[in-house]
């Protein structure tokens, strides 16, 4: 599993704990330090999740305003970045949910588990033919929930519990939503739909 870089940008544990403590006590300088460490990571997170750059900029600013006011609620025994991403994810998901009151957010389809064994050779061939840019473009065209779950898992490095909480899913469905998102991504990456159909030949019916 690749570790999200978003998590590697933090300060050393002691520095961070100190900065958080001072920021909680009202030090604007300490808050500035925290902000500068994490602003880029949170912006990139928002950029991956939100549809436009302007949305991402707005969301970043709003998230930091929220973070500052919620700093008292942070439990220092838990990882700070995980908390940051949790707040960010909740904020973005709220906005997206308000905008799309549509089917692609509903969880009905997760009941049906895809229990196929796809052809590993074909899957590998499909993946190795892609450039990073093409994968990014395909990610941008995914439905919001699929994109969100991939970003939470592979950018923010959230575990299944955290994802379940952020997206309001039952924990047992997180894997299904993740796998579905991968399938949708493959569909977008495949040169012809038939190839994708072979990789995941049957959808939802065991």
């Amino acid at each position: 599993m690749v570790t999200g870089e978003g998590r590697s940008e933090g300060m050393s544990g002691v520095e961070l704990a100190d900065a958080i403590a001072r920021a909680r006590a009202g030090s604007a300088e300490a808050w500035g330090e925290i902000y500068q460490r994490y602003a880029a990571a949170i912006f990139r997170f928002c950029r991956r999740v939100m549809p436009t750059r302007q949305d991402a900029e707005d969301a970043t600013m709003d998230i930091f305003l929220k973070l500052r006011s919620k700093l008292d609620q942070y439990n220092p025994e838990r990882p700070f970045q995980a908390w940051l991403y949790k707040v960010a994810a909740n904020h973005c998901w709220d906005i997206l949910r308000r905008r799309h009151v549509r089917q692609d957010l509903e969880t009905g389809d997760v009941e049906s588990l895809p229990l196929e064994h796809p052809d590993p050779g074909q899957l590998d061939a499909l993946i190795s033919a892609q450039s990073g840019e093409r994968v990014r473009q395909a990610l941008e065209r995914l439905p919001v929930r699929a994109r969100m779950v991939l970003v939470l898992r592979y950018y923010a490095d959230m575990n299944y519990d955290e994802i379940a909480e952020a997206l309001g899913l039952r924990r047992t469905f997180v894997g299904v939503v993740l796998l579905r998102a991968r399938h949708q991504l493959r569909d977008l990456l495949a040169p012809v739909p038939a190839a994708a159909a072979k990789i995941a030949s049957v959808r939802g019916t065991p």
Binding site: R44, D124, R136, L150
Partner: protein, 549 residues
């Protein structure tokens, strides 16, 4: 055991399986190369997705890299807003209010001149419609401002519907077409021959017009010269170079001209904004005359009051009411009250020097003369207070611009730095825009458009210096992109421009150049933005359409 399904593999990779199940899978994987290959393929996929997500392919906006601090009130801001507010107050107190007061004193019966002019339709009925248009226009601006403020809450359909509603409102607000009105448009001369009678309001757009017959209605004329030899029973409203009335007008005469001569008879009042006004002896106006003129010659007969704001004047006729003369403070023109002058009411004069009253003139009471000096010292362009006030107003305008369109301000101020092109374009728009507006005024559809364009032009001439100021500020403090740094540069640049404007002789050029440069740069940027192609379209879907299997 058959091959593992994809779901199980993913859960295994993510460490989501119970320990017993995971051990079982590990055993299977040791024996089954097919399942190991699937596991590896899934790991590759994970890697590809992670790398795509984590790539720093886009820069982070500079304004996001510094935390937003809660805006504390700094003394600089208090000072700036204080100056702006007191600037507006001074402008009102020193200039607008006394003017309105003197207009009020001069026979507008306790109502404000502007109210009379605009609300009561004293000048033209069409004002009422135009006023409605202006009110709706400001509502639209307000709406657009609110839309901008709440843009995050308004998405797609809601904002779209608002944008659609605004033009709809405008369409509803457009003044309905005038009724029982005839329009005549010609490049040459319009003639209403002697002996002929027309019964309607008549709009004439022509080089010249001769009314020799009878017009039973109002006459509204746009063109070069108008001569009324016959009779008009309603009002005569003229936007013309020269107007000559030899016949009879049953209503009022209102005109914006170069010159107007009334040799005949006007049954009601005369109001003129002209360079030259003449009422020769033998002519008669039964009502009063209100004049905003360069020079006036009143030798005929006025039934009621004469009220004039003027540069130079001769009064040598009969006035049935009061005479109120307000002479321009800066003029060196003379005021002569001749031997045949006969004023039944009071005679008041306010201006720079006492009028030359003939000893044979017949005035009902001794003339009341009030001498006024030049503008108050603190309103002269060299005064610090005046400059601080102008600075404050320009700063306020600039602040609004920076907060509404920081990108535009930045781009335009950099455009100013190219000097040549913006200077050329600025000079052209400086001359062409007002001409175009005046031309627009001469077509009836364009009247509202033309007048608003003229106001816009005056306003633009003032705010264009904002761009020049930001450019100056950036030249000194270095380029920037944030809102507050830009504001600081604006403040500095405006300060330098103000200081420059105080230099004798050169000051005027500083003001002129900063306005022209700013306006030219703005025109160039707007032009370029319109030319710039839209953002490249999203790449076509990667999935090609395959023929049905």
């Amino acid at each position: 055991m058959s091959h593992l399904d994809e779901m199980t593999c993913l859960l295994y990779l993510d460490g989501q399986l119970e320990a017993a199940r995971a051990a079982e899978l590990a055993d299977h994987l040791g024996a089954c190369s097919e399942c190991r290959r699937l596991l590896v393929a899934l790991q590759h996929e994970t890697l590809a997705v992670s790398q795509a997500l984590l790539a720093e392919n886009e820069s982070v906006p500079a304004h996001l890299l510094t935390p937003r601090t809660s805006p504390g009130i700094s003394w600089g801001w208090v000072l700036a807003f204080g100056l702006a507010a007191s600037g507006v107050y001074t402008l009102w107190n020193v200039y607008v209010q006394p003017w309105m007061q003197s207009v009020q004193e001069s026979g507008f019966g306790g109502q404000y001149f502007l109210t009379v002019l605009l609300l009561n339709g004293a000048f033209w009925k069409g004002w009422n419609d135009m006023l409605q248009f202006i009110i709706l226009g400001s509502l639209a601006v307000l709406g657009a401002g609110l839309l901008f403020l709440f843009r995050r809450n308004l998405r797609r359909f809601s904002s779209l519907s608002v944008f659609l509603a605004v033009p709809l409102l405008f369409a509803l607000a457009l003044p309905p077409a005038a009724q029982a009105t005839e329009f005549v448009k010609t490049h040459y001369t319009y003639e209403l021959p002697s002996g002929e009678t027309r019964r309607s309001d008549l709009f004439i757009f022509a080089n010249s017009a001769h009314i020799d017959g009878t017009l039973d209605g109002d006459l509204i004329f746009f063109g070069h010269s108008l001569t009324v030899d016959g009779q008009v029973t309603g009002d005569v409203i003229a936007f013309a170079d020269s107007v000559r009335i030899k016949g009879k007008v049953g209503g009022n005469v209102r005109s914006f001209n170069q010159s107007i001569t009334i040799e005949g008879q006007v049954a009601r009042n005369v109001m003129s904004f002209v360079s030259h006004f003449e009422l020769p002896s033998g002519a008669k106006v039964d009502g009063s005359a209100t004049l905003f003129v360069g020079d006036m010659q009143v030798r005929g007969q006025l039934g009621r009051d004469l009220c004039a704001f003027f540069g130079e004047g001769y009064l040598d006729g009969q006035v049935g009411g009061e005479v109120r003369l307000y002479q321009d403070r800066h003029t060196h023109g003379v005021v002569v009250v001749g031997p045949r002058a006969d004023v039944a009411g009071t005679f008041q004069y306010r201006g720079p020097k006492a009028p030359d009253v003939s000893s044979k003139a017949h005035l009902a009471s001794a003339p009341q003369v009030q001498l006024v000096s030049e503008r108050p010292a603190y309103f002269r362009s060299l005064s610090y207070w005046y400059n601080a006030m102008i600075w404050g107003m320009a700063f306020l305008v600039g602040l609004v611009f920076i907060s509404l369109a920081p990108g535009l301000v930045q781009e335009t101020s950099r455009e100013v730095g190219r000097i040549g092109a913006p200077l050329g374009i600025g000079l052209v728009s400086f001359i062409v825009l007002p001409i175009a507006a005046v031309i627009a005024c001469v077509t009836v559809v364009g009247l509202g458009l033309g007048i608003s364009a003229l106001f816009l032009w005056i306003f633009m001439m003032f705010f264009a210096q904002v761009f020049a100021a930001v450019w100056l500020g950036e030249a000194i403090l270095g380029a920037t992109s944030g809102t507050w740094p830009l504001t600081g540069r604006l403040a500095l640049g405006l300060f330098i421009l103000r200081v420059g404007a105080m230099i004798p002789f050169l000051g005027g050029w500083v003001r002129f150049l900063s306005c022209v440069l700013g306006m030219g740069a703005l025109a160039l940027v707007i032009y370029r933005r319109r030319q710039r192609p839209a953002a490249p379209p999203q790449p076509a879907a990667a999935v090609a359409v395959a023929p049905a299997a």
